[in-house]
């Protein structure tokens, strides 16, 4: 008999990168202690560049000061993967899952995340596929539409995936995205012939693809806005 797996989905709107990072750190601890169920954060970031654990600064093509004058932030993180850009109209999912409970290793987990984005793209008639070895992510031919960067700490996941709905592609020019020099970045807007609904609808579809891909039958949706100082005193 398969029991229904519970997933709590936090719809968060636009969230500053560091706030989201601190929130994830807290949720990872809570998930490890069993205080919360598997949780999925669904959000977008203001213009932000991030580096992974390997600190591949050489893939940043402009001085850091230039990024600030563009209105973007730069952060170093503990996730896997190379340098990337996050910004408005890019859908982000940060799953905080216990991999042991869902019986997945890192590789299968990442493959599942790829499937989530491939499935979403297919809803819009876009044929995407997983990257070859060493080029993890989701591609439409040789244009990258979705990126993945994950951290696993004591079996609990954080960070996750970023799917390009219609971000400002100019921001990608200032980096070698994901360290892959000769490939383009693309978006759903560029690849589909269909009219796109609002970002909120696409986020909901992405969450739905996620729930299906990971076998979550019981979804609890919450609208969460992070108030200033909320992280300091603990969350709702």
């Amino acid at each position: 008999m398969r029991l229904q797996r519970n997933l709590e989905v936090w719809k968060m709107g636009m969230v500053n990168y560091l706030d989201a990072l601190k929130l994830q750190e807290k949720l990872v601890i809570d998930r490890k202690l069993g205080k919360i169920p598997d949780t999925l954060l669904s959000l977008q970031h203001p213009p932000t560049y991030t580096l992974g654990k390997r600190k591949t600064y050489h893939n940043l093509l402009v001085p850091e000061a230039d990024l600030r004058s563009m209105g973007a932030e730069l952060h170093y993180t503990e996730r896997g993967g190379d340098i990337t850009y996050h910004g408005p109209h890019q859908a982000i999912l940060y799953p905080i899952l216990s991999l042991r409970d869902i019986r997945l290793g890192a590789r299968k987990y990442v493959e599942n995340l790829e499937m989530v984005m491939i499935e979403l793209a297919s809803l819009y008639g876009v044929g995407a596929c997983a990257g070859r070895t060493g080029e993890t992510g989701v591609w439409v031919e040789d244009r990258k539409i979705g990126a993945i960067g994950v951290r696993i700490s004591s079996g609990i996941t954080s960070h996750g995936l970023a799917f390009n709905i219609d971000p400002d592609m100019n921001y990608f020019k200032h980096i070698v995205p994901c360290g892959i020099a000769d490939k383009e970045v693309t978006s759903l807007k560029r690849e589909t012939e269909k009219t796109l609904p609002s970002d909120e609808v696409i986020h909901e579809q992405l969450v739905s693809c996620f729930a299906k891909s990971f076998g979550f039958g019981n979804i609890l949706l919450k609208n969460i806005t992070l108030e200033k100082g909320e992280l300091a005193k603990g969350l709702p």
Partner: protein, 161 residues
């Protein structure tokens, strides 16, 4: 789409679990478990020889992670404690913490891993060793799993719902 994926996940799980009750090395569709080592539930192994314990991750772990591209290790002299992270590995865009099965002080680190992280994939129990420590509390070894227990543990973990 979802049904196809579930079918292939189940097939993968079966392939791993039906083979991990062998204790000798076979082509890479089987997970190897070495007799004489001790194992932690987070898939690290310990080899205790006299005053030094060598630590690494198991064949099961490296198989589930995929090809490693980066390994982060502590410096000699660092204290490690049982169940806590001493470093990390990166594969397929995922960094995973590696935990120490026992407490002690790092006396040696496998420096080959910075240029050749894949040694952990090809030789997880030999050339892919990660750190050597001086155990501070050898009794902690008794709480770890022996090879038969660990094999069973992996089978249960991999079994589909």
């Amino acid at each position: 789409m979802a049904m196809r994926m579930w079918a292939s996940s189940a097939a993968n799980a079966l392939r791993i679990s039906c083979a991990s009750n062998t204790a000798f090395a076979l082509p890479k569709c089987f997970s190897t478990v070495i007799d004489g080592l001790k194992y932690a539930p987070s898939h690290e192994w310990v080899k205790h020889e006299g005053s030094v314990a060598t630590i690494g991750i198991t064949d099961h772990a490296q198989d589930h992670l995929g090809e490693l591209v980066f390994v982060e290790l502590p410096e000699s002299g660092t204290a490690v404690s049982k169940g806590n992270s001493f470093g990390a590995v990166e594969s397929v865009k995922a960094t995973s913490d590696v935990n120490s099965p026992i407490s002690g002080e790092v006396v040696e680190v496998n420096s080959k891993l910075s240029d050749a992280p894949g040694l952990i994939n090809t030789s997880p129990y030999e050339e892919g060793w990660m750190i050597k420590i001086k155990p501070s509390n050898p009794a902690e070894l008794d709480a770890l799993m022996a090879s038969k227990e660990y094999t069973k543990f992996c089978e249960e973990e991999d079994a589909a719902h």
